[in-house]
Symmetry: C2
Subunit: 177 residues, 2 copies
């Protein structure tokens, strides 16, 4: 423990420090394999990274099936789910597209995108069509930067899904904004 | 406008779609010049990007002074400000360290870090000491990925600062979580 005058700062692991990061927007990324089969992954690590052109960054674990698909196809759709989609998002975050058809299992509706092969998600609040313009390996994840070719929003009053962090039992708490 | 059965999705610019991204954590990044003068920049675009090792990603506009400093020194401190620091964060986001000493002007207190040259911010909720391990140019910004060498948290009950998006007059709204 280090003392800073009357205030105290406590040295902790990065994991413990990140517990103060919430709320964290939980998104889906839609991708597609070489046969045209679509997949969905749930991601907590996503943000804008350029105004002009508009670019989004997502971080995906290197062992994930979506990592392979997006690296190969260089395209993804960045999806902001509604709060109502929280159980479907949890399903996407806890199953692998290597063995499960996530659109079929969740009942989410794929809709053809305008410029990219992966589909939009009809039930979502926001869909952004992205083409990869850069990748950066960062430890156990890869940062994919995708230029946003166009975007689609729902005009219904759905709230966007956010992860509020773990409760005392370690379960994820969700909230809409 | 595209019709998806009974639901409507509306095609919009990326800027309009990003209006659904809030709350967005607003952080500071502390950096240092070759003479040891510290600087602070306010950043909305920040996230984790690896568990093991722990890595943080921040996105900085290529024209910003902090972009130059972090590119040159390859170090930064990622700071989660408290809600009480919102005016000081706004000051850091609207002035350039090329002409202003932001620690002096804001009254924020620099505290020596353990492993890196840029200082911690005494009043903050979280300080993470980061060493750059990768950079990716993304449009008008650069993604800096920094391995987190150690972290420090305050045990006081401060809420972390989040940007809730613009109000009807375009002014930033802040909230603590």
């Amino acid at each position: 423990m280090s003392m800073f005058g009357e205030k105290q700062m406590r040295e902790v692991s990065a994991d413990e420090a990140w517990l103060r990061k919430y709320p964290e927007r939980t998104v889906l990324a839609a991708s597609i394999d070489s046969k045209g089969q679509a997949n969905l992954i749930a991601l907590g690590w996503n943000m804008p990274t350029s105004h002009s052109p508009p670019i989004a960054a997502i971080s995906i674990g290197i062992t994930r099936y979506s990592h392979q698909l997006i690296h190969e196809s260089q395209e993804f759709v960045l999806v902001f789910p509604s709060y109502e989609m929280r159980d479907q998002v949890m399903f996407c975050g806890t199953h692998s597209g290597r063995t499960v058809d996530k659109f079929q299992q969740t009942g989410l509706t794929p809709v053809p995108a305008k410029y990219v092969q992966p589909p939009l998600v009809k039930e979502a609040v926001v869909n952004m069509e992205c083409r990869v313009i850069g990748e950066l390996r960062t430890g156990d994840h890869t940062l994919f930067a995708g230029v946003i070719l166009t975007a689609h929003i729902s005009d219904e009053a759905h709230q966007v899904l956010f992860n509020m962090g773990p409760d005392e039992q370690g379960n994820r708490r969700f909230r809409g904004f």
